[in-house]
Subunit: 204 residues, 2 copies
């Protein structure tokens, strides 16, 4: 990540230097969806709440108000695929998947837990968003499956390892969002993957 000394910000025109525009739009959307509901919230309101931005600025970043909440999907899929591709040739499918989960989890710090809870509340409360969330989860599983197949993993095994990994990540994310302690998302994700492996081995 590119880090600039914050002082530099004062010397650059705000309209051109908007490093957090996307993030501000996401946070504004989640706040508004939580406060007044998804259906009642307009793109203009989101842009306004994100610091007096225009609708046009919003549409430079997102195709519609729904996608604000799922903008990370492609990036997550690419990150998973990249890390799985880069895993040592000797890594087993689940070891490669574990490396991918570590990379995803490292994107989150514990001060983001409150936001994770609000995001979840916004999605759970709306059928259209729940549907979109299921589609994201499926797409991530497919991305991991494809990355494993590129490593030569047979398709059945690749699909199952991908499913186990994404299932572990989602389970860990829920637990992490609700946790008050010092454990990181990485801790939860590793524990969850290990639990799921054990459960999978005894499946009957």
């Amino acid at each position: 990540m590119l880090m600039l000394p914050s002082r530099i910000a004062y010397h650059v025109p705000v309209a051109r230097w908007e490093p957090n525009t996307r993030e501000r739009l996401v946070r504004a959307a989640v706040d508004l969806f939580a406060d007044q509901g998804y259906d009642a919230t307009t793109v203009s309101e989101i842009a306004e709440r994100a610091g007096g931005l225009s609708k046009m600025t919003f549409f430079r970043h997102f195709p519609d108000k729904r996608e604000v909440l799922f903008a990370g999907q492609d990036k997550m899929g690419q990150l998973l695929a990249g890390v799985i591709a880069a895993a040592p040739g000797s890594a087993t499918p689940l070891q490669a998947v574990a490396a991918g989960l570590d990379a995803l989890a490292a994107l989150h710090t514990n001060d983001q837990r409150e936001f994770a809870v609000r995001l979840r509340a916004a999605i759970v409360g709306n059928a259209e968003l729940r549907e979109r969330a299921a589609s994201k989860r499926f797409a991530l599983t497919e991305a991991v499956t494809a990355a494993l197949e590129k490593r030569g993993v047979p398709d059945l095994t690749a699909g199952l390892a991908a499913e186990l990994g994404i299932r572990a990540y989602y389970r860990a994310y829920e637990q992490w969002a609700d946790s008050p302690g010092e454990q990181t998302l990485t801790d939860f994700a590793r524990h969850s993957l290990s639990e799921l492996r054990a459960a999978s081995a005894t499946l009957d």
Copy 2:
């Protein structure tokens, strides 16, 4: 399934006795989506193609044109849940799931394969429908998970057994739709579940 001698149909007013209205609407929709695309097709056209029906008749059966393709979701979920609940107390989670898949597969006869191929083509060609399909798959997995948990299966195991079962069913459905031979969907589903169990046991 209630079977009436077909001759009886001639003695009952058509407007009140429309045993196949839903099915005719589904087939008309799939035909039109395949011919002219999902976005270009209106509810009126679907109703008309289904034998000169009205929009109002359509809306008595489906909330919108998208749901025509996914109308079976609730029924499938309930069938799976019912069969899993009714499995002997001694059945393992995967045995209960296998009974559920048998029940689902038994709904399909081999003369429906051509329709399955057309339905798939309609869904694959449209992002909104693919998303809805992912959501259906997720909902079915959740239904099986919940049914297993009601049997006292621990949540991790229930989720994995459900995933294995739904994954096996979808895989089998694809293979069956493309197959020219005598094998039934039941044959494919049993084989697929057995393959996935084996792959799962060697996952590493």
